[in-house]
């Protein structure tokens, strides 16, 4: 900064402060757009008399809220882990050594958008309802199937997040530097690439968790005791309780994401250490 001329400094400072006001305007507009529907839902949920009864009904008097949320949370974690294990090496490999595979990989990762879940789940049921892979025969098998389906659903988000994360770091230089120090592929991915993808992985994990928590069609057709089907049934049966569940689950998911972000923060250190920039 020492070398920056005074005029340049003034210019950049003006740019920054002007930008800051703009940033606040954008931020506040966003807050209004995002929070008004939530506030309306909250107010609606409070109309059931006595005030708050809707929350008592779902949180205290009905154990399905907690049990289904825990189930979906666990499936969500399994999905995130599996998705990261599949996507990170793939995206890394495509970027580093196989750019010509990119269109195929991108196409596959975008397919889940255009395959409606109802079709995906019917196909999975058909494909895995008999030998050689009879997964629909037991609850464990169905749990595997639902996780696999969610990993597929997470592809678009996870791949895009990881790929844009990889784009921002110099994969080649890092890899070469690590290789020159004798690191193998596993070690490169684990201690060089993964730590540098922190922000990308966190956003991919957010998206994945949120999909799993809210998903309805696949879970219900596989008969899983998941949160989506519970919410769906409640929406049909009740007036105020669904709004209460919406608010609470929004809050709980937000909190869970906060925890992921907090946990992710710890690895910041290793970014600096391992970063081969």
């Amino acid at each position: 900064m020492e070398a920056v001329g005074s005029s340049a400094r003034a210019r950049s400072r003006r740019g920054i402060s002007g930008g800051r006001i703009g940033a606040w305007i954008v931020f506040i507009a966003g807050v209004l757009y995002f929070f008004l529907p939530l506030v309306a839902t909250l107010l609606f949920s409070l109309r059931l008399q006595p005030t708050g009864q809707a929350y008592v009904n779902v949180l205290v008097d009905d154990d399905r809220f907690t049990s289904t949320l825990i189930y979906s949370g666990l499936v969500g974690i399994a999905t995130i882990v599996l998705s990261v294990l599949l996507i990170v090496p793939t995206a890394y490999w495509v970027r580093l050594r196989l750019p010509r595979a990119r269109p195929y990989v991108e196409f596959i990762t975008l397919l889940p958008f255009v395959i409606p879940p109802i079709i995906l789940v019917f196909a999975l049921l058909r494909g895995f309802s008999g030998p050689p892979f009879h997964l629909t025969g037991s609850h464990d098998g169905l749990n595997v199937l639902v996780t696999a389906a969610y990993v597929v659903l997470s592809f678009p988000y996870m791949y895009r997040a990881v790929d844009s994360g990889l784009r921002a770091i110099d994969v080649r230089t890092m890899t070469e530097a690590a290789q020159s120090m004798g690191a193998g592929w596993g070690r490169i991915l684990w201690s060089v690439i993964l730590p540098n993808l922190r922000v990308a992985l966190i956003s991919g994990a957010f998206l994945t968790l949120a999909i799993v928590i809210g998903e309805y069609t696949i879970a219900s057709l596989l008969g899983r005791p998941a949160f989506g089907p519970y919410l769906g049934q409640l929406g049909r049966d009740k007036a105020y309780e669904p709004a209460a569940v919406t608010i609470v689950s929004f809050g709980v998911t937000w909190l869970a994401m906060g925890m992921i972000a907090f946990l992710g923060r710890g690895s910041r250190q290793s970014v600096q250490v391992a970063g081969a920039r």
Binding site: M1, A23, L36, L86, P89, L110, A168, E176, V199, T246
Partner: protein
Amino acid sequence: MAPDADIVPGAPARPGRRFGAAWLGLVPFFVFSLAFLLIPVGLLLAGSFADAKTGAPTLDNYAQLFQPQVVQAYLTSIEISLVTAVVGGIFGFLLAYAVILGGLPRFLRTLVMTFSGVASNFAGVPLALAFVFTMGFQGMVTKFLLNFGIDLYAKSTGFSLYTKLGIEMVYLYFQFPLMVLIMAPALDGLKREWREAAENMGATPREYWQRVALPILTPTLLGTIILLFGNAFGAQATAYNLAPLVPLVTTVITAQISGDVFHNPGLGYALAMGMVVIMAIAILVYYRLQKISERWLRA
């Protein structure tokens, strides 16, 4: 854990060399996709060429795609997806920029990122109802505005939540945050040194954006807009529960496959194959745009 750990140990990291072996690195991904995605898609493809009742091979399902109302459903879906992808992309980018580089307090950044994670998948009945409670005929905002003599639902405004516009407004609720989530890592990757270097060389902020930041961000920007397009294109429950009269491909598919009413899975599969084709075209357009933009930005 790395599936490709021992495949090409110590191979020089240069693309194109040892072509065959390099593809082995993608085996886990392709095997998984084959089992849980591509084979299902294959069944769907097969189903689209079969008569739903008899199972006999037929092209009938595809012939039906050209009925006016099916074409209309595709057009509406594409329009809604495009509009919300572009609008969501622009404002999502601004929001991501505001929190990452806009000099807002740092804690806001975590809040916005985590909130985006939740909001990006807030969909279906709860989202539709949230907007009904907000902007519906008896909605909170509608009633609030009445206090100031503004009648959203006056004949002159022509406004209704149960239209294409309404669906677009609602879809943005998950489109913005998705953009924020994907753009944030990319913006985060813009290194401060680059900006300082540019400034040291006397570049204006505009020049910096044009010559440095945008070329780096453009592929991600375009890629994310494709993602938003797909995100809206595949959505169903939200639109159906809000405004069932606005015809979307996904609603038509659901009606054919799982509804009480039609139950003609063959046509449903053909409709889904149509979506696959449109998505493929969208991806081709994206590659084309990316090439053009690279040339344009270099010039």
